[in-house]
């Protein structure tokens, strides 16, 4: 009777290990969904005839895959501005940092990382110099590559995994300062009109 429970746990562990190798956060969610259903199915299968664990196993796998595809769907649904003249410049930045970059259609100066992509506004591309844009993209690339997403860190905290949400704006700034320079990043940050920007620039310039 322990067999189905083990098989399901192995699958869930598979999702987790792939997550740690590829750092694909949707796999972490799938892994958590897998673990949750493994516990449920494990309890249920205690009172089931032997062969039913195969169905339970398939159920869990498809549940995991369904979660995976749902998260992927939400990822790609987000709208983006496509403009022929922009694409070559954006493609250069994408190639430099190895992350997808989407352009949002607003005059406001905005930059953020959402899920696994960096978002820049047309207003930002207009008002920041090229080296400042590079610094901003480097900052967002750090978030894309190394920061846990809000959803994932809160989910992980809920399921009491050892995955503590943390604020890593400072680390992202450090990373961007290494790629561009501290002064360039500081200039870009001032143009972005973020709340508490002076403190952030102070932290940046004081650090070694």
């Amino acid at each position: 009777m322990l067999l189905p429970f083990l098989a399901i746990l192995v699958t869930a562990a598979g999702f987790f290990s792939v997550f740690f190798v590829w750092r694909r956060f949707e796999l972490l969610i799938a892994g958590q969904a897998g673990t949750a259903s493994a516990i449920v199915v494990g309890i249920v299968s205690m009172s089931c005839p032997m062969f039913q664990w195969i169905w339970a196993y398939l159920g869990v796998v498809s549940f995991g895959l369904l979660t995976l595809s749902l998260v992927r769907y939400c990822l790609t649904r987000k709208g983006q501005t496509n403009h022929a003249g922009l694409s070559s410049y954006v493609a250069t930045l994408e190639a430099q940092f190895g992350i997808p970059i989407r352009v949002i259609d607003t005059q406001r100066i905005r930059a953020f990382a959402h899920r696994r992509a960096a978002y820049l506004s047309v207003g930002l591309l207009e008002r920041l110099d090229k080296d400042e844009v590079t610094a901003v993209v480097a900052h967002e690339a750090y978030h894309v590559k190394y920061s846990p997403s809000k959803l994932v860190s809160s989910l992980a905290a809920l399921s009491s995994l050892t995955f503590v949400p943390y604020n890593d704006e400072h680390s992202a700034d450090q990373y961007a300062a290494d790629v561009a320079s501290k002064d360039t990043l500081a200039r870009a940050l001032r143009k972005l009109e973020i709340v508490g920007v002076e403190q952030r620039i102070e932290d940046l310039l004081e650090s070694e």
Binding site: H83, G85, Y89, Q107, I109, V122, E126
Partner: protein, 118 residues
């Protein structure tokens, strides 16, 4: 479309239908036809960039202003142009307001407007 709930009959001129900043920017656009946000900022020196950007986004969203992305000569920027002339705007708003009045008061509105016929 002008938001009917935003019409305030006590205000002067176009400010009956638009915010003061919207009126200023619309005026500039009618004057110059094709401008960048930088040119607008120069003309409206007392307004912050964030304020101008917000107003422009709103005007584009409500359809009174069109913008295109200009990515020539290795820089990216928006070019703004009014979507209609001052005259056309007058026609649009009048139709909208009169429709609304006729809905409420019927033929009384028609005879009232008849006064302006020569």
């Amino acid at each position: 479309m002008v938001k009917l709930e935003r019409i305030s009959l006590r205000n002067e001129g176009l400010k009956k239908f638009f915010s003061p900043n919207e009126v200023r920017i619309l005026g500039l656009l009618w004057e110059k036809e094709r401008v960048t946000s930088g040119q607008i900022q120069k003309q409206c020196g007392d307004l912050s960039l964030a304020c101008i950007a917000g107003t422009l986004d709103r005007l584009v969203k409500s359809g009174f202003v069109n913008r295109t992305i200009d990515a020539s000569d290795s820089r990216v920027r928006y070019l703004y142009a009014p979507s209609c002339t001052q005259q056309e705007l007058g026609t649009k708003i009048s139709e909208q307001v009169v429709d609304c009045l006729v809905d409420t008061f019927g033929t009384a509105v028609v005879s009232s407007i008849g006064r302006f016929r020569r």
